[in-house]
């Protein structure tokens, strides 16, 4: 029942949004729906619901984490949307609003379904639902971005499907008893899976979901899509939608570890992680467009996530923590970046100067978000990044640790160049449209995220720690 609610409520809200035809009233559906969804999620935190439908649906630590992150971020972003969509009167927001809540539904499906096929379906729905968000501005650039996003996304989705098939073939030996694609069955009978097929499955799933997640060298759609979509869409893409494919990869990893392929999987993950960080570093240096810069920073942090998972149990714990921290921080960055973009009518260093003078609150939050995402205490990402570093060092992976720290330094230099020149300085006076300063809701939303980051950075609640620990154990072959 609760699963039905989790998945169904957002879809119903989305359909309602399609039905309502007043651009003023429609957006109010979002916070409403998200609030309901979040309350259900809170209920899940209280008591984990039992598996149903012969184990096709159930929630474990991993799913719960991603689900809560998605629900919370969409709740806050929907508040942001209220005001944002009022400012963007010239565009009809029917599709935009509907797709936002479809995304929530799809993500919930990914989180609660334990059947790789269903996971895949949810993923695909999320991908498609995100396309209108990217295309919201309806200009040539956003069209190109959407085109690239869809082509790459479809390719990734296809490859992921192929990977799922491989998984099924790996499970053929124990076909018949139960559904071979239910994760619990796979993990339970991991010993009997045929290894070559499983290796293939992991590779295809990694490449397929990695494309959607934006790991280098599969990331190339990301700067375009993030750069051309509205700030709030960027926040949802970077914070919520990327965490679904990550969950998919984690599932595959879980099965591989159970089947004793942890070495193979971890080496792949570490390699892709460092590769993504390096690629991000190359493109962040000298990046003049601060939204594209954020996109590359997202590539970097996706890399950090898989790197952490590749570093064993402690690393996985840190990576899961970083999943949340990164999502929240990206929320701050993209929302404030959107505000700055609008205040200056441009998203490059040439347009935007001295944001601190024009939109003080947003600019301050943008600066703090930058400091946080680059791993400075007392913000939450520091804790996770430092734990990942420790995991590398404790595991005697000194080369990895060195690369990690070095790349972090390079990326910091690159981001600092852009961010500081955007935030500080004097705004150039001749700006096209009338200057609009900070507006309540659109600064409140990132403020909430920032508060959460600081809180998590100084005080990681016990319940969260336990869930993270369970999830990490789950990943690395422990009993759930």
């Amino acid at each position: 029942m609760i699963y039905l609610l989790l998945v169904g409520v957002p879809f119903v809200i989305g359909l309602l949004a399609l039905a309502v035809d007043s651009d003023e009233r429609r957006p109010w559906l979002l916070p409403f729906g998200c609030a309901i969804h979040s309350s259900i999620v809170v209920a899940c935190w209280r008591t984990l619901p039992e598996p149903i439908a012969s184990g096709w649906f159930s929630i474990d630590g991993l799913g719960l984490l991603v689900l809560s992150l998605a629900s919370a971020m969409l709740l806050v972003c929907s508040v942001y949307c209220l005001e944002y969509l009022r400012l963007r009167r010239e565009r009809h927001n029917r599709l935009f609003t509907a797709c936002l809540s479809f995304i929530l539904g799809a993500v919930s499906l990914v989180c609660v379904s334990r059947h790789m096929g269903l996971v895949w379906v949810g993923m695909e729905t999320a991908t498609l639902a995100a396309a209108p968000l990217v295309y919201f501005n309806h200009n040539e650039r956003s069209l190109e971005a959407t085109w690239k996003y869809l082509m790459m996304g479809s390719l990734g989705i296809g490859l992921a499907l192929l990977g799922t098939f491989f998984l099924a073939l790996a499970a053929l030996p124990n076909a018949g008893q139960g559904d071979p694609l239910v994760i619990d069955t796979l993990v339970a009978r991991a010993g009997t899976l045929s290894v070559p097929w499983l290796r293939g499955a992991f590779i295809f799933l990694l490449v397929g979901y990695g494309t959607k997640m934006g790991l280098a060298p599969l990331h190339s759609w990301k700067p375009d899509a993030y750069g051309e979509s509205p700030g709030v869409a960027g926040a949802i893409l970077a914070g919520v939608i990327t965490s679904c494919p990550f969950l998919g990869i984690l599932r595959a990893f879980q099965i591989c570890v159970a089947a004793g392929l942890s070495g193979f999987a971890q080496s792949l993950l570490v390699m892709m992680g460092l590769l993504s960080m390096a690629t991000a570093a190359v493109f962040i240096i000298g990046q003049r467009d601060f939204k594209r810069m954020l996109a590359y920073s997202s590539v970097e942090h996706m890399g950090i996530l898989v790197l952490g998972v590749g570093l064993g149990p402690t690393g996985s714990f840190a990576a899961l923590l970083h999943l949340i921290n990164n999502g929240l921080t990206k929320g701050v960055l993209f929302l404030t970046a959107g505000n700055i973009h609008r205040a200056f009518g441009g998203k490059t260093m040439d347009h935007a100067h001295g944001a601190l003078r024009r939109v003080p609150i947003s600019a301050t939050l943008f600066l703090l978000g930058f400091v946080a995402i680059t791993g400075s205490p007392p913000f939450a990402p520091f804790v996770s990044e430092f734990s990942i570093l420790r995991a590398a060092v404790d595991g005697n992976r000194f080369g990895v640790a060195l690369g990690f720290v070095g790349l972090l330094a390079v990326i910091f230099i690159g981001m600092a160049t852009t961010v500081l020149s955007v935030v500080y300085g004097v705004p150039n006076t001749e700006s096209k449209e009338p200057v609009q300063g900070d507006s309540p809701f659109m600064t409140l939303a990132p403020l909430v995220f920032m508060a959460a980051i600081v809180f998590l950075g100084l005080w990681l609640p016990n319940w969260l720690t336990t869930v993270l620990g369970d999830a990490a154990k789950l990943l690395n072959g422990g009993a759930s």
């Binding site: 790459m152 295809f204 680059t374 400075s376 590398a392 330094a409 500081l420």
Partner: protein
């Protein structure tokens, strides 16, 4: 230990209040000064207890962050730095109120107050931190607060540049520290400092790694050559009370980190110790040489901070030499010299920065060439500047001499092992540094405050308000007191040095007795100089009272129409020295000599760029740039290529891993 928390909290609360509720006027001023005072009382009481040997229990609370424990502890080393923070920071903070008020909005009040108090709080927390994560939190908060102070006046491009540079350097340093603590934590199995101390010795390779990481991580903050690049940019950019706190205390936190690490991990090898000494000497010579040739007096002060950091590092290195050669007395002497000089530098450098701020506000420029003759218009400021200048040159009746004297007497100790006689050369280099300091600061003080005004602004400068003069006077008084009565300061320094050298109190106190006796005589002679001067002064007065005293123009050696522009300029003053070291300084000169029988205009301009920042770094950056430009082409914009990446990657992985 509650006292330390109280101090930190007082500062933090004051910061928040001054930024949020009471933004303007007297309320904020009272909040700031009150917070500083409360912190000073609490912290001072705590430091007093610790230094006088009373046991203070650690404050340990669980902290819900992975691998972290909220562990505060304090020993003499911490107490010594805590005192420094509170005294120097307190003076700078009080001064800052006057400075902000007098800047007429050029210095934005809210960030200046907020970040300053946060800086103070984080430094107070830093010296008490006893677990790596708490240390890093305090460290980074300190760095960020300082960044906020540096980029207070971000309207100016040079300020933005300075802030950017500073943020880069400090963050790279912090990353090194993270790696360092990760390494130590791996060895100790916990991020507690006590665990580091108890852990088994690291293997040689990792020891070297730790040494290098610590040197880069802490040296970036302290400004060892060539990691100093941010320093001479950031200090002029920050408001003066901030640069006083940064130069007087914050950069010394880097050295605190080094010494804390020594106290935890024990002695370094002899080559490493000698490397530290060499690095310190190079830094000192480099710093003072470039200080000599500056024409912006805050820049000059910043470079001299590099010099003093070099001297302190030399002392630390000498202490390590003592440890490595198994002679606790030498170790104690070296460390105590370093710490005593740290205290002294904190006092006179902040004094000089404060007076520099006063002069800057009075004249409206930091250019020495535009000042001069200020001693007539602002006698108090200039008098205090004179004291600071004399102290920083290490001249006897003032505190600057005491620390240097300890280091000298380490170096020239006849009974040090035969292997360490290289020390005499180090002593000679220190001598050069001292003499160069005289050049730099006779220039800084003499050309700024004495002679004839070189500009209209300098002619009608005004003395600053008492709220600015008071703290300066206090600092100057401390300089003089430590100079003639060094025993208490020496006691503190030795107690701290005992922590660094991991010696028991009896051993420390035996060394203390010897050296406080000797330094006592030094102070006595300093007092003697003062007494003699007073005697001669009164003699002169009585002599002159009988005869008349006339006033006239300066004797122009037969030239009858001298103007202010004919005085020796900041550029020409150090030339006899710099000519000798042209190769090292690489001063750029632009000369347009007078030509023809009736020369219309002639000009001379000289500028000495920082080698690390303006000669070496650009080359590196350029290299990286064209190295990076190759992979940049990958993001070509063509969808087909992107698809190709995916497919090719897939095929490769399949062929490789399947």
């Amino acid at each position: 230990m509650i006292l330390l928390l109280a101090a930190v909290l007082a500062l933090g609360v004051a910061a928040v209040l001054s930024a949020s509720l009471f933004r303007h006027g007297h309320a904020a001023r009272i909040i700031v000064i009150g917070g500083l005072a409360a912190a000073a009382i609490a912290g001072g009481a705590l430091a007093w207890r610790v230094l006088w040997g009373l046991e203070v229990l650690d404050f340990i609370r669980p902290w819900l962050v992975p691998g972290a424990v909220f562990h505060l502890g304090i020993d003499s080393l911490s107490a010594c730095f805590l005192l420094l923070v509170l005294i120097v920071g307190g003076c700078a903070g009080v001064y800052g109120e006057g400075y902000i008020a007098a800047s007429h909005g050029h210095v934005p009040a809210i960030p200046a107050r907020f970040f300053f108090l946060v800086l103070m709080a984080s430094m107070a927390l830093l010296v008490g931190a006893r677990s790596a994560i708490l240390f890093m939190v305090a460290w980074e908060t300190m760095a960020l607060a300082a960044f906020g102070l540096v980029s207070c006046e971000h309207g100016k491009p040079e300020v933005r540049k300075a802030g950017f540079l500073y943020l880069l350097c400090t963050h790279i340093g912090s990353l090194c520290l993270l790696a360092l603590f990760a390494l130590l934590g791996r060895n100790a199995g916990s991020l507690e400092f006590s665990a580091f101390a108890a852990a088994p010795a690291l293997p040689a390779a990792q020891r070297t790694a730790v040494f290098v990481l610590a040197l880069v991580g802490f040296g970036m903050k302290a400004g060892f050559m060539p990691l100093h690049i941010w320093l001479q940019e950031a200090h002029p950019a920050a408001p003066s009370h901030a640069s006083a706190a940064m130069s007087g205390v914050m950069i010394e936190m880097g050295l605190y980190g080094l010494m804390r690490l020594l106290a935890l991990l024990g002695p370094v090898s002899m080559p490493a110790a000698i490397f530290l000494v060499a690095l310190g000497l190079v830094t000192a010579v480099f710093g003072i040489m470039f200080a000599m040739v500056q024409r912006d007096f805050k820049r000059l002060l910043a470079y001299s901070s590099i010099e003093n950091i070099g001297i302190i590092l030399t002392g630390v290195g000498l202490g390590c030499c003592g440890l490595a050669s198994g002679s606790p007395s030498l170790a104690l002497l070296g460390f105590s010299g370093a710490i005593l000089h740290t205290i002294n530098h904190g006092l006179f450098k902040s004094l000089l920065f404060l007076s520099a701020g006063a002069i800057y506000q009075a004249v409206g420029t930091r250019d020495i060439e535009a000042c001069g003759g200020l001693q007539k218009s602002m006698p108090w400021t200039c008098g205090l500047t004179a004291i600071g200048a004399a102290a920083i040159c290490g001249l006897p009746p003032l505190n600057g001499f005491t620390g240097e004297w300890l280091i000298y007497s380490w170096l020239l100790r006849p009974d040090i092992g035969h292997g360490m006689r290289f020390a005499a050369l180090a002593a000679a280099i220190l001598g050069v540094v001292g003499a160069f300091a005289v050049v730099a600061f006779s220039k800084c003080y003499g050309l700024t405050c004495l002679g004839q005004p070189r500009s209209e602004a300098a002619r009608n400068a005004k003395e600053p308000s008492w709220i600015m003069l008071g703290p300066m006077a206090l600092l100057a008084a401390l300089c003089a007191i430590i100079g003639v009565f060094p025993a208490p300061a020496l006691y503190v320094a030795f107690a701290a040095a005992g922590n660094v050298a991991r010696l028991a109190r009896p051993a420390v106190s035996s060394g203390l007795d010897e050296w406080s006796r000797l330094l006592g005589v030094v102070g006595l002679l300093g007092a003697g100089v003062c007494a003699l001067s007073a005697l001669l002064w009164s003699l002169r007065r009585s002599l002159l009272r009988r005869r008349g005293v006339a006033a006239g123009p300066t004797w122009g050696c037969g030239f009858t129409a001298p103007t202010a522009r004919m005085q020796y300029s900041g550029a020409s003053y150090p030339v006899p020295v710099t000519r000798v070291f042209t190769a090292l300084l690489a001063t750029q000169e632009e000369v347009h000599p007078p030509l023809g029988y009736w020369p219309v205009k002639a000009s001379f301009a000289s500028r000495t760029p920082d080698p690390a920042l303006e000669r070496w770094l650009p080359v590196l950056v350029a290299k990286c740039e064209d190295w990076l430009s190759v992979p940049r082409r990958l993001q070509h914009g063509r969808l087909q290529l992107y698809l190709l990446y995916v497919s090719a990657f897939l095929v490769v992985i399949l062929l490789w891993k399947l």
